[in-house]
Amino acid sequence: MPAAKTIRVIGHRAINAVWRIGMATRFFFLILLYSGNSFRRFHLIIKELFSTGVMSLIIIVVAGLFVGMVLGLQGYETLKRYGSESALGVMVALGLVRELGPVVAALLFASRAGSAMTAEIGLMKATEQISAMEMMAVNPVARIVAPRFWAGVVSMPLLAALFSAVGVFGGYFVGVVQIGVDEGSFWSQMQAAVDFREDILNGVIKSFVFGMAVTVIALFEGYDAPPTAEGVSGATTRTVVQSSLAILMLDFVLTAMMFGGN
């Protein structure tokens, strides 16, 4: 009965997916519950901020520069058709601050820092380091997971802001230095059109939410990974795939809520 088997497989996968979402949610609340311990020993968060945030700087800066330069080129080609080249600064800045900065930085963050978190925690589990910690009466969620969560949540908006800032300079370099768009109108129109609350703050909120989503997914996948080489590699892959999808879906929801066509 192939049809019955197919239904059974689909049903099993659906139940498994719901179960995992439930476990991940419970895991998220556990992290919040044990976060007080992390804040009391702030050096743990600082250490994780270095490996999560500082070590992601190069990829964020380089990617931001190139995305900004591409935006400058494409934007100029489009705006030229309407004789609005002077609005290039606005287009680059709004594109980066509202969308590309938070989204692309979060995708890069998921690939670099998220996958590293999953692999590290998965390997700690496989080599019994987490069991050893539990046997020493030290709660691994409080000692290992919560500091990484807060490091991810704090570093994501900062990385997204840096991505946007470097991207604006990339757009400036291509638009003003290379193509010859007027420098005064590039900066002044940008300054006039970009609103702090409407554009910048909304971008920061987006990257904060993305940071939470990516970090929870990465930590949960690592903590839940089967303690084998195959299990850890599978968990790392799932982190990147699920984080990327979560970022794009959340981006739509947040954009609809923030801008919503009004």
Binding site: M124, T127, E128, Q129, S131, A132, M133, E134, M135, M136, A137, V138, N139, R143
Partner: protein, 241 residues
């Protein structure tokens, strides 16, 4: 099973017979479906998380491959529990860590990372970490696995000496019959989750029970068959009768 205070007990048996599962029950990582485990007068599965963690502070466990924290130096690994569970000043922690490392002969490795240690050295550092807070119950999960003969003797000797020096109770889960019989006070043999035989090392050596005899002498065939149960051999080779 009973583990009297101050004694060093070995639990032996074939792979998959439930030895490590038993250790995990003693450590409170698993809850028994029937029966109970009583440590220091308290039934483990009745304790809440705070009670269990309080109990675990009186226990130490050496994992099969040490389970050292790979992002910390040898020094920080040994100091980990002291920093987590006590308010001792760093100077005192330093002296205690050095004493623990000296006890396992590895004081000179305090600056090294776990990746720079050999398997035997990692096991000894893990032993120093296990006894960092002078536990009353020490559990060893396959402490001799993968060690060269010298490291094996060193680790075996350390297990005996540390148990006697701390006045602790030690439970060693192992396959290594010869090394274990040299150091332990009492042995339990397990098979399929039940106690198959028990006794002092001398009683075990002299035992005429088939299972114990096969295990002690490492014989290929006996109550534990060489062949895993399977179908008809001729049938697997597609031969006709």
């Amino acid at each position: 099973m009973t583990f009297p205070k101050g004694k060093l007990i070995a639990i032996m048996g074939l792979s998959g017979c439930g030895k490590t599962t038993l250790l995990r029950h003693i450590g409170g990582a698993l809850k028994p479906t029937s029966g109970h485990i009583k440590v220091d007068g308290q039934i483990l599965h009745e304790l809440d998380q705070d009670g269990l963690y309080a109990m675990r502070r009186k226990m130490g466990m050496l994992f099969q491959f040490g389970a050292l924290f790979t992002d910390m130096s040898v020094y920080d690994n040994v100091a980990f529990q002291m920093r987590e569970h006590t308010d001792l000043p760093e100077e005192l922690i330093h002296d205690l860590v050095m004493m623990k490392l000296n006890a396992v002969g590895l004081r000179g490795t305090h600056d090294l990372m776990p990746s720079e240690l050999s398997g035997g050295m990692a096991r000894r550092v893990a032993l120093a970490r296990t006894v960092a807070l002078d536990p009353m119950l020490i559990m060893y999960d396959e402490p001799f696995a993968g060690l060269d003969p010298i490291s094996l003797t060193v680790v075996g000797d350390l297990i005996r000496r540390l148990n006697d020096a701390l006045g602790a109770t030690s439970v060693v889960v192992t396959h290594d019959i010869q090394e274990s019989l040299k150091i332990v006070d009492y042995v339990y043999f397990m098979a399929n989750g039940v106690i198959e035989a028990e006794g002092t090392p001398d009683e075990i050596r002299a035992s005429d029970r088939e299972f114990v005899h096969q295990f002690v002498h490492g014989e290929m065939d006996g109550p534990v068959p060489f062949h895993y149960p399977g179908g008809e051999y001729r049938q697997d080779l597609n031969l006709r009768a």
